[in-house]
Amino acid sequence: MDGNLITAMLFATVVAGTPLIITALGLLVNEKAGVLNLGSEGMMAMGAVVAFAVTHHSGNPWLGAGAGMLAGAAVSLLFGFLTLTLQANQVASGLALAIFGVGLSAFIGKPYESIALKAVPPVRIPFISDIPVIGEAFYNQQAMVYLSWVLFWGVLWFLYRSRAGLVLRSIGESPASAHSIGFPVIAIRYLAVLFGGAMAGLGGAFVSVFYTPMWVEGLVAGRGWIALALVVFATWRPLRVMVGAYLFGGVMILQLFVQGSGLQIDFPAQFLSSLPYWATIIVLVVISRNLSSIRLNSPASLGKPYRPDA
């Protein structure tokens, strides 16, 4: 296998993993505050369609990405109102949100179905993009890819190095204790939910504006669910989310390359298509199999409603 092929595969892997990273990191912060939002597929779909529409009308993909974030956040606000203010069941509300978002995005997107956007050109980082093989794959990418790396460091710093992150995590562990020492549990959970929604919206915007510059019903194609599963299998650790997302993207691209290369392997194509799911789950379960580490990292109050005045 020559260097160009490896570069092409790495390049495609990074692109395929990026929407998962952005969405999953948002969900991770969301869940660290103890709120389980299963509606990520719906939020991504809303982000994707709104970002597409705004990009189409304004011609500016960044305005589109911003609008996608707002759309994701707006949908998650609905979820927040249901589960945090009205104390509705988080699992049921999240599932409803997923279905609602996918349906509404199809409705909004109807007039945009046949429009193609211009592809957003990649941004080349000088000097390091000249490194053979990996330079072209990692440093001549969409700006959104670099943004996902910034987001990764930001989330890492916020959760484990900042006071606000500590408060957020304490609310996820024991909202009653956090409340008793005076933290506004509901308000902080609202912020976490909004952040999760905005990131899912941005992940969706990446899919519709940067990755596949088009809109069709069902464009997100299950990536929201994969992001949700990634967070759990990565036991709520940002680095493992990142590894999992690239692994998923990588195996998907690898199986396409294997099919295209005409290698004589006797596997049904259906098996190859399911390979990314298998590989990601197995690897993440194996690296995260330490039970005490799972207990340590999974937010203890995840999915449980909390009523401060009770």
Partner: protein, 361 residues
């Protein structure tokens, strides 16, 4: 017009209104129903059927009234929609997807006075006919163009499922390309979905990075043509003319035209002369055409293609004319022989020149 749920609701209301005396006003207008598997959109399988429906309305004007329901899944919903059309007074129902076949068959038995037409299936009955098009004829011509124009000698093909119709297309394209350039190889990536734009795009990008400079697809979105445009290689559209999605990349497309068939069928039903048959039309019947060739296609290639399409139209040329060898080198069709429709309908192998392996069953 309507989605499935609204349709079922309003059909109930219609049935009620129809039973009232003043509902009899529009007696001599024949109602015709169309069932579509996906949203109409702006290109693709369902779009072409809807264009044909419009041609039908334009041609028969006041004599008929058409209705359609889009995005009907191939399942129990389909049977409900088909039955509602029949029950609410439609005289003819066109069901435009393979997976509707058994539902059409069942409903057709219950409504002997309604005529049913089913696309791409193989069953028929007293009041139930089927129709299909010879998509592979267009593919062969695409192959000739690709074979002449490729520089890398690699053609990429993004395909959904290994069923006979798809294999006919891949094989016809390969035979077409090899007829003018014996060094060509065709690489196939299966997406295992009719419609997943993200995956179709990834597959196209993969083929491009493996050296393919000619691409086509047997899936339902325009993602492959767009990917080709982005990376500066060429592509062939399918179902519809997709040139607006890739002005530079798009060389031509295999397009489907059901309009004449719809008009002919409806006229026959109205005249009472319709008989169930298995319609399989191609260039000859004008059901399959080639979209206008891009200016990038050189004149000599253009001439070859025009000559071949004239022969397809005249019925003097069949893309599957022997010798046809499969990948293992076994002779599937003797030299000079022309494949018969039954064998063609059961195609389950790749011809020589396809580099990818057919997924085992």
């Amino acid at each position: 017009m309507l989605d499935r749920r609204k349709f079922i609701l309003s059909a109930g209301a219609l049935a009620l209104a129809g039973s009232l005396p003043f509902g009899a006003a529009a007696q001599d207008v024949t109602k015709i129903g169309f069932v579509y598997v996906s949203p109409i959109g702006d290109a693709g399988w369902t779009f072409q059927h809807d264009e044909a429906r419009k041609e039908l309305e334009a041609s028969l004007g006041g004599k008929i009234e058409t209705r359609y329901v889009e995005n009907v899944a191939e399942g129990a919903d389909a049977e409900r929609v088909i039955r509602e059309f029949a029950a609410s007074g439609s005289k003819i129902v066109f069901a435009t997807s393979f997976g509707y076949m058994n539902y059409v068959e069942r409903v057709a038995r219950q409504f002997p006075n309604v005529t049913f037409l089913h696309a791409t299936g193989y069953k028929s009955g007293k009041n139930f006919g089927n129709y299909n098009a010879r998509f592979y004829e267009g593919r062969y011509l695409n192959g000739v163009i690709a074979g002449k124009m490729t520089k890398s000698n690699i053609i990429g093909y993004v395909a959904a499922f290994p069923i006979p119709e798809v294999l006919q297309g891949i094989n016809a394209l390969t035979l077409g390309a090899r007829s003018v350039n014996p060094n060509v190889e065709v690489r196939v990536i299966w997406t295992n979905a009719w419609y997943d734009p993200g995956k179709e795009r990834e597959a196209a990008m993969t083929l491009i990075s493996q050296g393919a400079d000619m691409l086509t697809q047997h899936t339902d979105s325009t993602a492959v043509v767009q990917a080709a445009e982005e990376r500066g290689v060429h592509a062939f559209g399918y179902h519809s003319d997709m040139s607006k999605y890739g002005p530079k990349a798009h060389l031509t497309a295999t397009t489907h035209h059901w309009g004449d068939f719809y008009i002919k069928t409806v006229n026959e039903v109205l005249a009472g002369t319709w008989k169930p048959e298995n319609v399989w039309g191609g260039f000859k019947e004008d059901m399959i055409r080639l979209a206008p060739l891009s200016p990038a296609v050189p004149d000599d290639v253009k001439a070859t293609v025009e000559d071949l399409s004239a022969r397809l139209k005249a019925g003097t040329f069949h893309p599957f004319t022997g010798p046809v060898l499969d990948q293992a080198g076994t002779e599937r069709l003797a030299a000079g022989a022309v494949i018969d429709d039954a064998t063609l309908g059961k195609m389950d192998y790749f011809v020589q020149g396809v580099a990818s392996r057919l997924p085992s069953k």
